[in-house]
């Protein structure tokens, strides 16, 4: 653990008042709170901000930290500090990031008792505390979500790597959490182990887009298929099915395959009219013939500003 400049983390000058520290912390906490923030590294930032505030909000801890900070910035002024680190050995430094900070600078010598265990307020294991929950994101394919099934996962946990078996419920949707009871960190004393939570997200699919429990397939069709109607094979999450494109369909028309989405959702097929490439004179002539036949000017139907 390196020395952390808590003032820099809160973007405050070291002369900031207690009131300014509090105000800035509140603002940053709202900005980076993992339950609210959309920033990618919100959790880490929130932890850094909280750790800084834990120390700076308390006048005693802050004074101690200021002294330490002064020492790190100007080590020559404190010639005896390395040996005399007992000066930083007060109760105020226990149970906060300050303790780890001191340890990182002076090494794990006497005078910092209870730091690691003090984190949960449990010393000597006399209390029974439930283990921590662990959270992971689990990216799955739409096919897995549709069909459900078992999957074996290799997870890196604080207690080492482990392999767990997960049942993915049929029709699960994005953002749902799966709970694996008792698979989290071990408890202290008689306390039970924590749980693992797996938050479901969908991997990008080559064909489908997802909207809650509905899925959409964009289907390219030729002008004559749209005009004359056609029966085509389309892909669904459960395999291929036949779909009848009705005659006189327009671009963007949405057809529904009921119950072919996730869970109770549907699959929508959206038509995308694609013109053939016009490469030869004969290609051109074919479209000229269409032009003469229809005398069709869709622009005339468009609303114009008066």
């Amino acid at each position: 653990m390196d020395f952390k400049d808590y003032y820099k983390i809160l973007d405050l000058p070291p002369s900031a008042t207690q009131e300014e520290v509090k105000r800035t912390y509140k603002k940053l906490a709202r900005k980076y709170h993992p339950d609210v923030s959309e920033e990618a590294d919100a959790t880490a930032k929130f932890q850094a901000v909280s750790e800084a505030y834990e120390v700076l909000k308390n006048k005693d801890k802050r004074a101690e930290y200021d002294e330490l900070r002064e020492y790190v910035n100007n080590p020559n002024q404190f010639q005896n500090a390395g040996a005399g680190h007992g000066r930083f050995n007060s109760d105020a430094s226990a149970e906060s990031g300050l303790d780890d900070l001191l340890r990182s600078i002076f090494g794990d010598q006497g005078g910092f008792s209870g730091g690691a265990q003090g984190f949960n307020g449990q010393r000597g294991g006399t209390f029974n505390v439930r283990g921590q929950d662990i959270r992971y994101d689990l990216g799955i394919t739409l096919e897995e979500a549709y069909a459900g099934g078992k999957r074996s996962l290799r997870l890196t946990t604080p207690g080492g790597d482990k392999t767990i078996n997960v049942t993915i419920p049929k029709g699960v949707t994005q953002g749902k959490e799966l709970r694996l009871k008792g698979q989290g960190e071990l408890g202290h004393g008689e306390g039970p182990a924590g749980d693992i939570y797996l938050k479901i997200s969908f991997l990008k699919h080559p064909l489908f887009e997802v909207d809650e429990n509905d899925i959409t397939l964009v289907l390219p069709v030729s002008p004559w298929e749209a005009a004359l109607g056609e029966s085509v094979e389309v892909q669904t999450l459960g395999g291929k099915v036949n779909l009848k494109i009705p005659a006189d369909s327009q671009n963007g028309k949405r057809l529904r395959l009921k119950g072919r989405g996730l869970g109770s959702g549907d699959q929508f097929v959206m038509l995308k009219l694609v013109n053939p490439p016009i490469e030869t004179d004969a290609d051109k002539a074919a479209f000229e013939a269409l032009k003469d036949k229809f005398n069709f000017k869709p622009l005339d139907g468009m609303a114009r500003p008066v």
């Binding site: 609210v36 909280s50 909207d211 959206m270």
Partner: protein, 96 residues
């Protein structure tokens, strides 16, 4: 597939939030348990909502009206974001 549900006592122990707090959350509409034989039954989805509410209350020093509002807005925000993603991807597919 049978749905995983919790009684109040089970729910509190798993969520690590005390009964009084859960009761307050229910009173503020943050949690909406169903009634089964005059007892509250919580669906498993309520677990993460409860923990999120409690974290917001503590970390951001919000009162329960604030927690309820913040939860509702962040959830609405997330839904909108997902919908925007969906529509953007769809437009992309229609263009290429």
């Amino acid at each position: 597939m049978s749905e995983l549900v919790y009684t109040l006592i089970e729910f509190c122990s798993v969520a690590k939030v005390d009964e009084q707090r859960v009761t307050e959350f229910v009173e503020h509409g943050i949690l909406e348990p169903r009634l089964r034989q005059d007892q509250w039954i919580f669906p498993s989805e309520a677990l993460s909502r409860c923990q999120r509410a409690e974290r917001m209350r503590q970390d951001l020093q919000l009162d329960l009206h604030g927690v309820a509002l913040a939860l509702e807005l962040t959830e609405r925000n997330q839904k909108l974001r997902q919908r925007i993603d969906y529509l953007e991807q769809l437009i992309d597919r229609l263009r290429h």
